[in-house]
């Protein structure tokens, strides 16, 4: 009983924090990776 009571709030906390982070998105800088074939990539 003690074990499950401990898990429920933890699960709720994790789920709540994921939802909150998606709702608040974005809260920090974003990185946009541009894959290039090689160093001498065309300008476009």
């Amino acid at each position: 009983m003690k074990f499950s009571l401990g898990l429920i709030p933890l699960a709720a906390l994790i789920a709540g924090s994921l939802t909150a982070s998606a709702q608040d998105y974005p809260t920090k800088p974003i990185t946009m990776i541009v894959p290039l074939r090689r160093e001498a990539e065309p300008m476009w």
Binding site: L18, A22, Y25, I30, M32, V34, L36, R37, M43, W44
Partner: protein
């Protein structure tokens, strides 16, 4: 260049900095894999070109588009055939006739392993030509070789030719689109010249598989705002690139069609070396 323009306007729409990081290597696979392996939280995006599709088939790589969620397509341009300003061919029809008279002699510049290789091989096949493929590291050095008459033909998207066309060093003879566009100088289509080929390149924004749908929606909304900004459209058009914004099912259907088209051409040309996913 298109990536930087989009990033700048995406940053305005999201209200957070968007840093562009170029990741070269392995025909785009290194950068793509870095995106696939990133935390699916919306803070690592991939700005992929057509190479993300072709690299699935033309390089021996475990990379697959199945490792990503497509947020939106932001740009698409047709392949174009260019010749030097001094070329006697005034139209694609002229060029095809000249190349047929000299089988195995005309040189076409392209980038091996990239969409341009598929353009070159697809053009030769559709026009029934025997051409010599000359590999270049990038579109710009190939276009410069064309201007210097070291090769007779070059194939790439029109944006790669912009400065050399403006300075009257090379000419675009035709574009592989459904219809002419003022963006590409109203150049005739391949089909108008008897070459039945419609093919091009695109750019899209991807995130790692598992990214929450709410985050994907926010990104797609922001990209929609970004790609509608008159300044972005102007900057893209100034470099000769067209804005095409597609999201959700329309974007997925576009990507799936591109994937099918490229795979078909790649297999028909015997260029597929990677196993099926």
């Amino acid at each position: 260049m298109v990536g930087r323009i989009v990033a700048q306007h995406l940053q305005n729409a999201l209200g957070k900095p968007v840093a562009v990081v170029n990741k070269p290597g392995a025909s785009s696979v290194l950068g793509a894999n870095e995106v696939a392996e990133a935390r699916p939280d919306g803070y690592t995006l991939g700005f992929f070109s057509t190479s993300a599709v072709t690299a699935q088939y033309t390089v021996p790589t475990p990379m697959s588009l199945k490792n990503f969620e497509l947020v939106a397509i932001v740009n698409a341009d047709p392949a174009a055939i260019a010749v030097s300003e001094a070329s006697p061919s005034k139209s694609l029809k002229d060029l095809v006739a000249a190349a047929r008279k000299a089988p195995g002699q005309m040189r076409i510049g392209m980038i091996p392993g990239a969409s341009a290789q598929i353009f070159a091989a697809g053009f030769a096949r559709a026009a029934g030509l025997d051409l010599i493929n000359v590999p270049f590291k990038g579109d710009i050095d190939g276009a410069i070789a064309l201007a210097g008459e070291h090769i007779e033909i070059h194939v790439a998207v029109p944006v790669s030719y912009k400065s050399l066309v403006d300075s009257k060093k090379i000419r675009i003879l035709a574009v592989a689109s459904e219809a002419r566009s003022p963006l590409y100088g109203n150049a005739p289509t391949f089909r108008e010249n008897g070459v039945d080929l419609v093919i091009g390149a695109f750019h899209g924004v991807f995130v790692p598989k598992g990214t929450p749908p709410e985050v994907i929606k926010k990104l797609a909304d922001a990209l929609q705002v970004a790609t509608q900004a008159p300044e972005l459209v102007q900057r893209m058009n100034d470099v000769g690139a067209a804005v095409l914004y597609l999201r959700d099912d329309a974007a997925k259907s576009f990507l799936s069609k591109q994937d099918d088209t490229y795979r078909e051409v790649i297999e028909a040309l015997g260029l597929r070396i990677s196993p099926a996913h």
